[in-house]
Amino acid sequence: MADLRSNFIGIKSPNPFWLASAPPTDKEVNVRRAFQAGWGGVVWKTLGSEGPPVVNVNGPRYGVVYGADRRVLGINNIELITDRPLEVNLREIKSVKRDYPDRALIISLMVPCDEESWKAILKQIEDTGADGVELNFGCPHGMAERGMGSAVGQVPEYIEMVTRWVKTHSRMPCIVKLTPNITDVRKPAEAAKRGGADAVSLINTINSITSVDLDLFAPQPTIDGKGTHGGFCGPAVKPIALNMVAEIARNPATYGLPISGIGGVTTWRDAAEFMALGAGTVQVCTAAMTYGFKVVQEMISGLRDYLDDKDITMSDLIGRAVPNVTDWQYLNLNYTTKAVIDQDACIKCGRCYAACEDTSHQAIAMGPGRVFTIKEDECVACNLCVDVCPVESCITMRELEMGEIDQRTGQPVRPYGNWTGHPNNPMAQAAE
């Protein structure tokens, strides 16, 4: 049976599934329940400086995007960092860690952007027994207005500076949590590395308005008739998170920098995808907030089954897909596929036809008896029919063999060739 034990920048956990710094990790009672359920680690909800804690709104904190059957696809929140006194959090962290020495317990931090504040908080958490710190440079709402969270995370120089302070004043492993609310995520990741970060974690939540109340004409969640942008997370953000993880993983400047993947991890499969793109651990929030802590048990069994089926170890999986993430210009333009419809599997809904005829390349014919067939001389292999077909594997893409004539172009399939050498590319390097 596959071994899921994880050693991430020296932080050990029985599995790579951690709870992200968020409402589920705000209190001892929650974290104990999480560990009892089987979570490998927890990033404790962000602590602020000593003194009067932040306050939260007293109306709704969350907005939601639903799929069919009220399936939660995404949640946005306007909750701030912990609103409980620092000493209470520290006492609880120490207590939990003492009882769960085998689990990872990381403390998320966010204090004002001056060296003294960071020095002070690092000293205060020193004897909690925590395994590491995560610097919250991502929170996009509320705290950013006060010069913290994503206000720091959007300025690479600040990230580097604060990270350096942390590494100067603490011996703990340091993870820098990145905001996606930025144009090029590689820059803050590079800054974190320059500052001495042991790892980065991403993504934090995405600035969002999830919905507008069409009676109140206000964003949701609505607080006394007004709303504000919140941080969006959950399955809907996974594609954005995967791309950002991959960008850092394949960037030569940050290549090899450990990554803790965050963003819509709901099942073992999501986790495995993040890991394949370079994440050593994954952090989960929305799935737990939607279904409770028990979801980790499916993640554990699922990842184990997958690794066993593939007969690979977890370290084999981590980063395995990174070499296959490339720039568009290097894609093989001579690779040619055509859609094929399995008539036995087809339920004759016609969605492929509508999609292709209305919005794509008019490459599907609708015959008597609702028989749908591919017109290979029109098919550009866009894959939309596969995507909209409600029956899995009913439509597949057939790879044309080398030399086979592409009915659309009349040309035979040729060996690898990309845009950099394509005759239509004015910048193409002439083949010698």
């Binding site: 069919a68 059957d69 009220r70 004759k348 809904c349 016609g350 036809y353 409600p390």
Partner: protein, 448 residues
């Protein structure tokens, strides 16, 4: 004296009085809002959807389901009513498994169609609960059209004609409008006086004058209508009933299933309605099932449907057949009545087993008898009293295209007209299409 299920003969009050309201409640309770959303989410929004093709009224089903799923059931209802003004009753009585749901691609995919009928009911109920009629009449045309028969086809035609601005006079021989919706379907399919409420709501379009208790051939003639009106639509239904041709059929308590259902639908007190202890229903259609199940619900101890051919030939859908057997009705196939025994009233019925032969059904020579104190005949209805001068086809009024009869200015639709299945939804489609044709001809005449 208190009767029970064991009491011999045809007597009322076989059950405790509180049992009747339970037995005759809605057979398919309406979907709640959340149930409707979940059901609607299953629709794939097919291109040129097979369910629409399968619907005789061509309701844009994917569109109305999408409108439900986005929280606009009234818009969904309008989509339905544009095509089928009797979408409410059709949602309740359509054999959907043979029509829209039977062709749903999810039947192919996983054997469970989208619940189109239930969703249609959800949407139409929602809009009708507003208590206002959703359509407005066009400008008056000055044309007058007579519609004979206030059943599904006549109501559909009348509504469409009124919507176009014509003046409609709607005649019906019975005291109440609605036709089979009011008199001919099982009461648990249209509870709380739905058929009557639907007619009231439909009449909200305005421009329709109802003349109840007015029978063609008795109170007026087709010729008089043709003389008085610009056009005539005949939606007469099938008033005649077929005979069994079994010996002793004239004995007491040998009734027509349609009369039994009519009495049941119209009685103010189900506890006062007599029913036999051993009831036999002859036939294989929806009327047979409706009669048999309701006899059972009224407290008959044994109810048996006897059908002369194989079960696969029954015109009652498999869903209806299951409903019958789940209700405790026994179905015997390949048997036909030979003789009705009894002294004054029926006491038992003798049957012969049948088989398919070269020249149709054959007598196998095998006999059996079933005790019986009430025999209900549900072996089909026929057109009685068609006006002179109309061409007939297969015993029905011959029509071509959208309900044109052999007489100029006279259209027909529904069960009385040739072509199409004898279904409520087909009647609605025929009434609607005839109305459109009448309108086109009248306007052409006016402007031509």
């Amino acid at each position: 004296m208190t009767n029970s299920q064991l009491t011999p003969g045809v007597v009322p009050g076989r059950l405790p009085s509180e049992a009747y309201s339970v037995n005759f409640q809605d057979v398919a309770p309406p979907l709640e809002r959340n149930e409707a959303r979940i059901a609607a989410d299953r629709c794939y929004f097919c291109h040129d959807a097979p369910c629409v093709t399968a619907c005789p009224t061509s309701i844009d089903i994917p569109l109305f389901i999408r409108q439900i799923s986005t929280g606009t059931p009234d818009a969904a209802a309008l989509t339905i009513f544009h095509q089928n003004i009797l979408g409410g009753i059709c949602a309740r009585v359509c054999p959907t498994e043979n029509l829209c749901e039977g062709s749903c691609v999810r039947m192919t995919a996983e054997g469970k169609p989208v619940e189109i009928g239930a969703l249609q009911r959800y949407a139409t109920d929602h809009l009708m609960a507003r208590g206002e009629h959703p359509f407005t009449r066009g400008a008056p045309t000055g044309k007058r059209v007579a519609v004979v028969g206030a059943g599904p086809s006549g109501l559909s035609a009348a509504h469409r004609l009124a919507a176009k601005g014509h003046e409609v006079v709607l005649f019906d021989a019975r005291p109440k409008p609605g036709g089979l919706n009011e008199y001919g379907i099982a009461s648990y399919k249209a509870v709380d006086g739905f058929a009557a409420r639907e007619v009231d709501w439909l009449m909200g379009i305005g421009g329709i004058t109802l003349q109840s208790g007015q029978a063609l051939g008795r109170d007026f003639t087709l010729d008089s209508l043709r003389a008085e009106y610009d056009a005539v639509f005949l939606g007469l239904g099938l008033q005649g009933v077929n005979a069994l041709s079994a010996e002793g059929e004239d004995r007491g308590h040998v009734d027509h299933a349609v009369d039994f259902i009519r009495d049941l639908r119209q009685t103010p007190d189900l506890t006062a309605l007599p029913v036999g202890r051993d009831v036999i229903v002859i036939g294989g259609g929806m009327t047979a099932v409706d009669a048999a199940v309701q006899a059972k619900l009224l407290g008959a101890q044994n109810v048996t449907i006897v059908y002369r051919r194989g079960q696969d030939r029954m015109s009652a859908s498999p869903h209806e057949q299951d409903h019958a057997t789940h209700s405790g009705v026994r179905i015997i196939c390949n048997a036909a009545p030979l003789k009705v025994h009894g002294n004054g009233t029926v006491r038992e019925v003798e049957f012969f087993y049948t088989r398919d032969g070269a020249n149709g059904l054959e007598d196998t020579g095998e006999r059996f008898r079933l005790p019986c104190d009430q025999l209900l005949r549900a072996i089909g209805q026929k057109l009685d009293g068609a006006p002179q001068g109309l061409g007939l086809s297969g015993g029905k009024i011959a029509v071509s295209g959208p309900g044109r009869t052999s007489l100029p200015g006279v259209w027909a639709g529904g069960d009385c007209a040739s072509g199409g299945d004898d279904l409520t939804v087909t009647a609605v489609a025929e009434g609607r299409d005839a109305a459109e044709d009448i309108h086109a001809q009248l306007m052409e005449a006016a402007h031509g």
